[in-house]
Symmetry: C2
Subunit: 303 residues, 2 copies
Amino acid sequence: MALSRTFPVLSLALAVSAATAADLPVRPSAGEIIKTSQPSDWRPLDVNNTLYMELPGGRVVIELAPDFAPQAVANIKTLAKEHYYDGLAVNRSQDNYVAQWGDPNGETNPKSLGSAKAKVPGEFSVPMSNDKHFVLQKDFDGYAPQIGHSNGFPVGRDPKARTTWLAHCYGMVGVGRDNETDSGSGAELYAVNGHAPRHLDRNITVVGRVVSGMPLLATLPRGGDTMGFYGPKETRAPIISVRLASDVPEAERSHLEVMRSDAAIYQKVIEAQRNRGGPWNKYAANYVELCNTTIPVREQPKP
Amino acid sequence: MALSRTFPVLSLALAVSAATAADLPVRPSAGEIIKTSQPSDWRPLDVNNTLYMELPGGRVVIELAPDFAPQAVANIKTLAKEHYYDGLAVNRSQDNYVAQWGDPNGETNPKSLGSAKAKVPGEFSVPMSNDKHFVLQKDFDGYAPQIGHSNGFPVGRDPKARTTWLAHCYGMVGVGRDNETDSGSGAELYAVNGHAPRHLDRNITVVGRVVSGMPLLATLPRGGDTMGFYGPKETRAPIISVRLASDVPEAERSHLEVMRSDAAIYQKVIEAQRNRGGPWNKYAANYVELCNTTIPVREQPKP
């Protein structure tokens, strides 16, 4: 059955297949561990820190991280409340890098930012004291002295400098800027659509994570201009609206919850990714990179 | 100019912008170093080890790596020569993981493999002596005792076991298999479309790299079934044909060349990615992950 659908996740139906020379012990997969979670292992998204970006293909849900970027998140919430993003567009889709959205006429005839600030100080890292939820991940990381997870986000930190920051993993959302550190307002945002560009860590204000709808951004046609910007003749995905979830009627909200990254079960999920079991796997890495430890998101179970 | 197009690549036009507290020295970017390359720093793709996969949207060019998977590459070349892949489809598109192609009826009414083998021994790693072109990358890697580049491919190796293997970076192409190590024939292949799933290293036969056309695979709609497989009602991208470049008339070939990963300039490219300069960058990581060091590909200059 060389063409079966078992690759690359363990199919339980085949768990009794022939042994090989390199058999690993069978261990529960991350997915199997997640299935054993309790309701208390999850938390709902905070409607006051969740954005809905409506694209023609559907909704992108972004969880904001005010602990890591208080000023930028506040400005973005102002922009959303005043409907700044409505009618703007995704202007850039660079393969294996970022999709970026904002004002397509920003350089020639920019839309007013309303009561939002045009410049926000860079929040490339913040004091460790901002972070009340950090749990260390023991694996080595080349981009940060320490890594871990905080309240549903992948983070790096430097215990000597006593700073912490959000890591540029797949789906993380950051603030486009020019050369000046305060030149980003949140009017122009991007989401990582490929291999983590971790060199951007501590160079950009990261404000949150796409927790649902990332395929809508990841599958956009790549732009033909420099750095994946769309050229004048290319079609851009329009942004219908961006709203704070709390400003959306209850019946129209997405009811998602995120695994608590400080719950004990999440450490088991990471360990299952660090050392995968047989029979499909033949070699266990005994290592998992920060950006391969995606924090689970699911629909809230019906009460 | 908060919405300008300078993010995140250095715009030379802005190189004289105001200094900040954290200014890094200005250094040539990877792109600027590549522009100083000499013709001898590049090699054309070998037409006997290059596949053209024609999709409705265009051509995907795959460079095969016979040094790392001699038996699988030979079988794939047989399949291509006998037009096995023609009329098959991309059957799976899983967000931030892989796009996978092969026989959509493989489980129910499989197409004949012709004179190709149905099973090929796993070539998850090969003797280091297979690799005549390895250049060490000094950065730490959690998935391999050593990393580097070999003849245009990212590789891991274990000097104690004297083995080497291709790393699962973005765009790398591998052989789908079932639980048995010899259950992959190359009839079912996949390309990495997201953050590198390096835990697959040494668990899969990797046969090459997409050197052009990766956006065609990366932007495919994600499949709605388990693991991103397309459900029965979803539209799959059909494969028009897969040909070895040497079987395609000269006038219809893609004329691409790859930077020689053992050329001195390539070490400069890596160093430019390891320590990026100002004025845009404020913090230099002094580190670059293996899968962030993409080997340059370009159109062959006209003679």
